[in-house]
C-alpha cells in the first residue's frame, strides 16, 4: 500500500492537499494570511470552536471567521508554518475547507462596491435629513432673506451630495446612453441633475421654490434600493462561490523510473500511469492497468450501485475508487475527458437558453421613454399656453420629471427580493440572482434526477429487521474496516439498532470481492454472491452482500439507496398544485422504477445519458413548458444548464453546482417546494409594488403637468410611496415566518441560551 499516502489520511475531497503557496498573501509587515472557505459552517457555536482551535495552533496570530461569507482568515508571521495544518485541524473538527483568493474571485471589488454604496446611502441620508429640516421651515413660512439663507445652506449641502452620491446612477445612465439604450437610470440622473441646477438658479434669483430636498431624498431612496439589491446579490454570490471548487485536485503519477510523484490534475498527459488510492476520485479518464477494486459512479452516471473493476475496465474522471488501490493508464486528459464533453454540452445548452428579461427591466423599457415624452409634452404645452414663458414651462417640465422619477419603482423589486433571499437563506436555499427567483415563480414542470437528488445518494440496509442481531453484529465487525458504501450501511444499521460490532480477528478487505476475517476459529466472509458461493440472482437489481460463516447457511443483506425523508411529501405537494413531475435517471430501470412507484411518479426514464437528458429538457421546452431541473451529477449538468431554471443539492458535483441557478442545503427535499412558494409570493408582491408605484404616478403626474407640484407635494408623495413599497415587501418575511427553518434556527438559539443558563 505504498501508494496510499494521501488517500489513507482522509477521504478525498475533505482535505485540500495541494500546495497552498499561491493563496498565501504576505503583507508589508511580514504577516502572512490565507483565506479559506468553510462551506459547512452553519451555527454560532462553530464560530468559536473553529477560531479557538485554529488560534491554538502554534505560530498562528489570529483566526477570524466571516460568517456571512463562510470564510476564515488566518494570519501568522512564521515562514515555517505549514498552512495545510489549518485545513487538517478543520477537517478534524468535521469541516471541509478550500483555499480562496478574495481578489481573484471578485470579492475585493464586490466588498469595495458595497462599501461605496453604503457610504453614498449615509451621505445622502445625512443631506436629505438636514435639507428636509430647512425645507420644512421654508414651507411653514420663512420669508425673504431667511428663505434665501435656508436655500443657500441647502444648496451647499445638496450640490456636493448629488455629485458624490449620484455617481452610481450617472455612470449607469452614461453606459446605457452610449450603447443607444434607455434604462431607469436615465430619467433618474436627468431628474436629479435638473432639479439641483434649477434650484440653484432659483436660489440665486431669490426664487420662492427650490427642489434641493427632492433631488437629495430621491437619491437617498434609490441608493437604499440599490444597496439592498447589491446585498442580495453579494450574499448569493458568496454562498455559491464557496461551493465551487477551485479544481484543486491532484494525481499521483508513476514516472518511467517507477517513482511516484504528485502532480496537479491539469498536468496529466495520456499514457501516464496514475496511482489511485482507496477513497480517491479519479483525476482523469483511463483504463485500469493493474489492481482490483470497486468504484462509485453515482456522481458521474447516476448509477447507485458500486461496480467492480479489474484490468482493462474503463474509468472516468470524477468516479471514486472504493476498496483497493488501482493503477490506471490515462487515456484522455484535459479537453478529451468525459468531464470536458459534459462542459461542452453545458456551454452550448447555456447559449441556447433564451435571454430572460427581468420584470424591472421590462418595465424600464416602457417607463423611461414615457416619462421623457410626458416631460417634453409638458414643456411644449406650457410654452404654447403661456405664449413662450420659458421659465415657467421649464419649471413645470422639471417638476414632472421629479414627480415621475421611479423612486418607488427602484425599490419595488430589490426590497422584496432582498427579503425573499433572506427567507430562502434561512430555509437552506441559496439563489444566484434575482432572475432565478423570478423564473422559479413561473415553473410548471419539475424534472428530478434520482441518485443523490430524490435519494440521499447513500445506501441503507433494507432487511435489517429480518436479520438476527448476531449476524448483524458479525457483519458490522467485518464491515468496520471498509469504506465500501455497503459496509458503511451495515455499520450504520448496527449502530441504529444499538448492536455492538463483534471483534473480528485478522479481518482484511479483498478488493473486488468483499471482506474476510475469523471469528471463533471459523472463517467469515462478507461480500458478493459469486465470491461467497451463492447462485447469482439478476432479477431483483438491488445491491446485496452475503455473509457466510464457516459452512453455515449464508445470510443475505439487501440494500437500497435511501430516499430523502420528505421526498414523498414534496412530490405529493408539487403534484397537488398541478405541477408536472418526471424522473430522468442514469440508474438501472429496476432501481428507478422502485423509486418512482414509491413516490407516485408516473413518468420516469432510466438509463438516460447526459445527451438524452438534455434532449428531454429541450423537447419539453419546445412544447412550451417551463422546466425546473433538479439534479446533482455530472450527467445532469447539461440539463441543469438548459432548463428554464435549475436547482442542485449542495452535495452535488462541482459542475452540477456550477450549472444550477439555485442550491439547496441539507437532507431534506423541502427546499424545492419552499423556493417555489417563496418565488411565487415574491412575484406577487413585486407586481403589487409596481401597481402601487405606478398608481402613485398616475395620481401625481396630472398635478405636476398642470403646475401644482410644489416641492412639498413632491417630497410627501415620494416618501410615502417608497415607505408603502418597503412595508409591503416586508410582508413576505411575516408570511413565511411560521415556516420550517426559521423555527428551527430559533430553537437552536434557545437551546444555546439554555445551555448558557445551565
Amino acid at each position: 500500500m505504498n501508494c496510499c499516502a494521501i488517500g489513507n489520511v482522509m477521504d478525498a475531497g475533505t482535505l485540500f492537499q495541494g500546495d497552498l503557496a499561491p493563496w498565501i498573501f504576505t503583507q508589508q509587515n511580514g504577516q502572512r494570511e490565507i483565506d479559506l472557505i468553510i462551506p459547512g459552517l452553519s451555527s454560532a457555536e462553530s464560530i468559536t470552536t473553529i477560531e479557538e482551535a485554529i488560534e491554538s495552533l502554534p505560530h498562528v496570530l489570529s483566526a477570524r471567521i466571516n460568517f456571512t461569507g463562510r470564510r476564515l482568515l488566518v494570519t501568522w508571521t512564521d515562514a515555517d508554518f505549514n498552512p495545510n495544518s489549518i485545513a487538517k485541524t478543520l477537517s478534524e473538527l468535521g469541516f471541509t475547507s478550500r483555499p480562496f483568493d478574495p481578489s481573484g474571485s471578485g470579492f475585493k471589488a464586490d466588498d469595495a462596491q458595497s462599501r461605496m454604496l453604503l457610504r453614498a446611502v449615509a451621505v445622502s441620508g445625512f443631506a436629505a435629513a438636514n435639507i428636509m429640516l430647512l425645507s420644512v421651515s421654508v414651507w411653514s413660512g420663512a420669508e425673504g432673506t431667511t428663505r434665501d439663507l435656508f436655500h443657500w445652506i441647502s444648496a451647499v449641502i445638496a450640490l456636493p451630495t448629488v455629485a458624490y452620491a449620484g455617481r452610481p446612477f450617472f455612470r449607469s445612465a452614461a453606459r446605457a446612453l452610449s450603447s443607444g439604450q434607455f434604462n431607469m437610470d436615465v430619467p433618474i440622473s436627468l431628474a436629479v441633475c435638473l432639479a439641483a441646477m434649477m434650484s440653484l438658479y432659483e436660489t440665486s434669483t431669490h426664487g420662492k421654490v427650490a427642489y434641493f430636498d427632492a433631488s437629495v431624498t430621491l437619491l437617498f431612496f434609490l441608493l437604499t434600493g440599490r444597496y439592498l439589491d447589491h446585498l442580495m446579490r453579494a450574499r448569493a454570490r458568496s454562498a455559491v462561490s464557496q461551493l465551487l471548487s477551485l479544481a484543486a485536485s491532484s494525481a499521483m503519477i508513476v514516472d518511467e523510473a517507477g517513482v511516484p510523484r504528485l502532480i496537479s490534475a491539469t498536468a496529466i498527459q495520456p499514457e501516464m500511469k496514475m496511482l489511485v488510492a482507496t477513497g480517491e476520485r479519479f483525476a482523469a479518464d483511463g483504463v485500469v492497468a493493474s489492481g482490483v477494486s470497486e468504484i462509485d459512479r453515482s456522481l458521474v452516471t447516476g448509477e447507485s450501485n458500486p461496480e467492480s473493476v479489474t484490468c482493462g475496465s474503463v474509468v472516468h474522471a470524477g468516479m471514486m475508487n472504493l476498496t483497493g488501490p488501482l493503477t490506471v493508464e490515462v487515456t484522455a486528459a484535459g479537453q478529451d475527458t468525459f468531464l470536458a464533453e459534459i462542459v461542452r454540452l453545458m456551454t452550448s445548452a447555456e447559449q441556447s437558453r433564451s435571454r430572460f428579461v427581468q420584470i424591472a427591466d421590462r418595465l424600464a423599457r416602457i417607463y423611461s421613454p414615457a416619462v421623457h415624452i410626458l416631460a417634453g409634452l409638458t414643456l411644449v404645452g406650457w410654452l404654447f399656453w403661456t405664449g413662450g414663458d420659458w421659465h415657467a414651462s421649464l419649471m413645470t417640465a422639471i417638476a414632472v420629471l421629479i414627480i415621475t422619477c421611479p423612486c418607488a419603482l427602484g425599490l419595488a423589486v430589490p426590497a422584496v427580493q432582498t427579503v425573499a433571499s433572506g427567507v430562502l437563506f434561512r430555509n437552506g436555499v441559496m439563489i444566484k440572482d434575482g432572475a432565478a427567483l423570478e423564473k422559479l415563480s413561473a415553473i410548471d414542470t419539475v424534472i428530478f434526477d434520482k441518485t443523490g437528488t430524490l435519494t440521499r445518494g447513500n445506501l441503507r440496509l433494507v432487511n435489517a429487521a429480518a436479520l438476527s442481531p448476531a449476524a448483524l453484529a458479525l457483519a458490522a465487525g467485518l464491515a468496520q474496516i471498509s469504506r465500501h458504501p455497503l459496509s458503511k450501511a451495515i455499520c450504520e444499521a448496527a449502530r441504529l439498532q444499538g448492536i455492538t460490532p463483534l471483534v473480528i480477528e485478522k479481518s482484511e478487505e479483498v478488493p473486488g470481492c468483499g471482506l474476510l476475517g475469523h471469528d471463533q476459529g471459523e472463517q467469515v466472509k462478507l461480500g458478493s454472491r459469486f465470491w461467497c458461493g451463492m447462485p447469482e440472482n439478476e432479477t431483483q437489481g438491488l445491491p446485496e452482500f452475503v455473509l457466510v460463516k464457516g459452512s453455515r447457511a449464508p445470510t443475505l443483506f439487501t440494500f437500497e439507496d435511501e430516499l430523502r425523508d420528505d421526498a414523498g411529501a414534496v412530490i405529493a405537494a408539487l403534484k397537488a398544485i398541478g405541477t408536472h413531475v418526471e424522473i430522468l435517471s442514469g440508474d438501472r430501470p429496476a432501481a428507478v422504477q422502485r423509486t418512482a412507484e414509491r413516490l407516485g411518479i408516473e413518468l420516469w426514464q432510466a438509463g438516460v445519458t447526459p445527451q438524452a437528458k438534455l434532449a428531454n429538457v429541450h423537447a419539453l421546452k419546445d412544447a412550451g413548458r417551463k422546466v425546473l431541473m433538479v439534479g446533482d451529477g455530472l450527467n445532469d449538468a447539461p440539463a441543469l444548464a438548459a432548463g428554464f431554471t435549475s436547482m442542485a443539492p449542495s452535495s452535488a458535483s462541482d459542475v452540477g453546482r456550477n450549472a444550477a441557478d439555485t442550491i439547496f442545503m441539507g437532507e431534506s427535499l423541502m427546499p424545492v417546494l419552499v423556493a417555489r412558494n417563496v418565488a411565487i409570493a415574491t412575484h406577487q408582491i413585486s407586481i403589487q409594488n409596481f401597481t402601487l408605484a405606478v398608481g402613485y404616478n398616475a395620481l401625481a403626474v396630472p398635478l405636476a403637468m398642470l403646475g401644482f407640484a410644489s416641492p412639498l407635494i413632491a417630497a410627501i408623495a415620494m416618501s410615502t410611496s417608497s415607505i408603502i413599497v418597503i412595508a409591503n415587501s416586508l410582508r413576505l418575511a411575516f408570511q413565511f415566518r411560521q415556516r420550517t427553518a426559521l423555527a428551527k434556527s430559533q430553537v437552536q438559539g434557545l437551546t444555546h441560551l439554555e445551555q448558557r443558563a445551565a
Binding site: 454560532a44 464560530i47 460568517f67 466588498d111 458595497s114 445625512f126
Partner: protein, 55 residues
Amino acid sequence: MNILLFLIPVALALGALGLAAFLWSIRSGQYDDLDGAANRILVDEDRPKQSKSKE
C-alpha cells in the same frame, strides 16, 4: 432670528458627527459580516481562552 445662526450650525454639526461615526463604522469593517455579528451575540465572550504567547 439670531438664534438661527447658532442653532443651524449646531444641528448640522450634530448630523455631521453622526455621519462621521457611521462612515468610521463602515471603514472599520463593522458592516462586513452582518450574519456573523448576529450570531456572535449568542457566543460567550468571557469563555477562558487558552492563553499563549504571541511572540
